[in-house]
Symmetry: C2
Subunit: 424 residues, 2 copies
């Protein structure tokens, strides 16, 4: 993988747009975290995009997959952290540590005390796998000891630093799939197809998403096979999700080899094999942003050639579906119409941008340019005409075509548009 | 607040049910965390209940409140943690610390090195307020410098231990509201009413939820007034959400007193006052579970008096809306019918429990008892009759009444039932 500072240029237009348009919070450190595919501080639009992405992932893995998958929610820190990530990063109460160091005793005694404090301090997780392995036993009753089934979770994990002493955060998605040993290879293929199809579903250019087998020398210890879902960023390939066929060693180790407890009814009694599917939400989000950013040439109203930036995010993922604005006419009345529409959209859970509240004068051209960069699907303009005839203007981000529509039809039109895009 | 071990008894029936019915993972430590209102390891039903709760909170504070509230997502750790919680808990790489301690140098040098490592190690947040205060400036552009507006966030926080050296996790909800100084008192009242109404909306006995002013001696440093939303647990009162009127001191401090940057257009130029609304998701979840658990006497089919436990969670919160089971008839065909229904429910985003997959023989009575403890809203039984006439049996958790319904009507019936409950 590449470091951000080396290959700054291909990333810059995307980063700038993300900071300007409320996807990520401003600041160099924050942009660097984002660029490296780590969790960063997100603005309102980034936050909503992330929610949508997590929601879609969850739906596709649990209810949408026709497989038996249950959700769980485990802790991000544990007291006996030696099994998970080797207890690399620990949450230490700094006052306690300082007190120990300032004792007036020998170096050896201080060393012992600090070691004991470290041992007591919870270690933070680096992945979600361990939590799911621990939940295997309580879940067996749920499925009546029948294979296959899966446990899904999304949550915060911490990555140890590469020597800087400063661990970073990453939000992961995890599906841990338990199946019979003889079917594990087929299931790995099944989930690889399922995951790749999912990523491509939301892509503007699906061929930028691909899968590739992990070379033998890069296999993690427990794994016999691995597959990566890869995105082709302008600055190189990066993995978004990784699938491993892990056998039963880790499951046995987690449950201290209690083979009889782990056995499932599956024709004969077997300890299941484990397939893990681990994704990086923050890098996935960046992949979709990068994939959907189009730089287009266009002529402005004075025939000057300008660059038009459009964030063509999939309708289901787009954080703002509709922007509501007002044109010419009596401001007070037009705003009242907008408020009614706003309420109607919100009740239908369609996210709206209340552009009509903005009191800064802007041309329609500037407004459209801004909304295109925000990835807003449709812009609705309420004007004098609306008060007279109920007709308003609707502009599409993707076609840039403006059409006239009756105010009573607008909510259903947009609802249908989004759910049609969801079903393709 | 009470400690769990002292007042074990009133909590035990709830804890046992939560462990038996997949709300929380088994184990004494986990049950203790849950009982203390901290994050614990959740099973599939607890996980889904938590999702629903967070979703409802989010909706009520952002789109449902008619106020301008934007979502944000900040980091749970920060490098310059001295401002947030005083950097009490830090993420330390334990190998690095051990290396420093094992150096063959003087105690003083080791001390210096360890202090420097602590300084570099990110501190974890104890609350979400600081993140929102930092996002105030980038958000000003969004609202065109106009007050009032709010920033909402939900996320993981860490509570320092009371001397044990072992910090605990808690998931918080946070609304940080920026308003003009002269309206801050009214806004505190507004949000208190709004929050109390929200908690009561989902309660079986709303009077168990109340609000009370924080006594002067318990006010946090920055606050001039505080209100707590309290739940009356069987073992005593505990706060679920706390509102503080905090003035402008912390906002000024976060932005190093840059008054001119912070000023908003609000008649005259003013630095806004801050109102914080902070909730504990895990304790809120326990409040709703405790509130909805009913212990009823009932006669079984042999006229023996038995205790019936029903988890009467609000239809919107209930983690499982429908259980699908099969009665008498050709199993293969009946299962096929169930699979069709399952798909239909899932597409409508109605969570289903695939009871028909269970191959253990159970009486309908046992099944109903189990589903009542799980809080399942409706049980649908597909039988021979369904294959002939399309009619199935529908049992309601709350009325225990069984009715016959045509298979084509079932999905819409349940959809309408849930959205009607949502609108009350």
């Amino acid at each position: 993988s590449t470091t951000w500072t080396e290959d700054l240029d291909p990333l810059r237009p995307l980063l700038q747009l993300c900071m300007d348009r409320y996807y990520i919070s401003p600041g160099q450190t924050n942009a660097e975290l984002f660029g490296r595919g780590m969790s960063c501080s997100y603005g309102p639009l980034g936050m909503e995009l992330r929610r949508n992405l997590l929601e879609q992932w969850w739906h596709s893995v649990t209810s949408g997959s026709r497989a038996q998958v249950f959700g769980i929610n485990t802790l991000s820190s544990s007291k006996d952290g030696e099994t998970d990530g080797g207890g690399q990063v620990r949450m230490v109460e700094s006052e306690k540590l300082k007190q120990l160091l300032q004792q007036d005793v020998s170096k050896e005694l201080i060393l012992q005390d600090v070691q004991a404090l470290l041992q007591r301090s919870p270690s933070v997780r680096t992945h979600l796998l361990q939590g799911a392995l621990e939940q295997f036993l309580p879940s067996l009753e749920l499925v009546n000891r029948k294979l296959p089934f899966g446990l899904a979770e999304t949550g915060l994990c911490f990555q140890p630093s590469d020597g800087s002493g400063c661990p970073a955060e990453a939000t992961q998605t995890s599906l841990v799939w338990f199946c019979s040993p003889r079917t594990s290879s087929q299931w790995l293929d099944h989930w690889t197809r399922q995951r790749l199809t999912w990523w491509r579903k939301f892509a503007l250019s699906p061929s930028d998403f691909s899968s590739s087998d992990v070379p033998a020398e890069e296999l993690v210890e427990a794994a016999s096979r691995g597959v990566r879902i890869i995105y082709n960023f302008p600055w190189g390939q990066e993995p978004l999700e990784t699938l491993w066929s892990r056998g039963d060693a880790e499951l046995m180790q987690t449950h201290k080899g209690a083979r009889s407890k782990l056995q499932c009814r599956n024709g004969r009694k077997t300890v299941p094999h484990v397939i893990s599917v681990t994704g990086n939400v923050d890098r996935g989000l960046m992949a979709f942003l990068s994939n959907s950013l189009q730089l287009l040439k266009r002529e402005d109203s004075k025939q000057r050639l300008q660059q038009r930036k459009v964030l063509k995010l999939h309708p289901v993922l787009a954080p703002v579906k509709v922007a509501l604005d007002i044109g010419r006419g009596a401001t007070v009345e037009l705003r009242r119409v907008c408020e009614g529409l706003l309420q109607e959209f919100m009740e239908a859970k369609i996210s709206v941008w209340p552009g009509y509240l903005d009191t800064m004068p802007t041309s329609m051209e500037q407004l459209n340019a801004k909304y295109d960069e925000m990835g807003v699907l449709f812009t609705v303009v309420v004007s004098e005409n609306t008060l007279e005839s109920g007709l308003l203007q609707l502009r599409s981000r993707d076609t840039t075509i403006r059409e006239t529509m009756h105010i009573s039809e607008i909510k259903n039109f947009i609802s249908r548009y989004i759910s049609a895009a969801d079903k393709i």
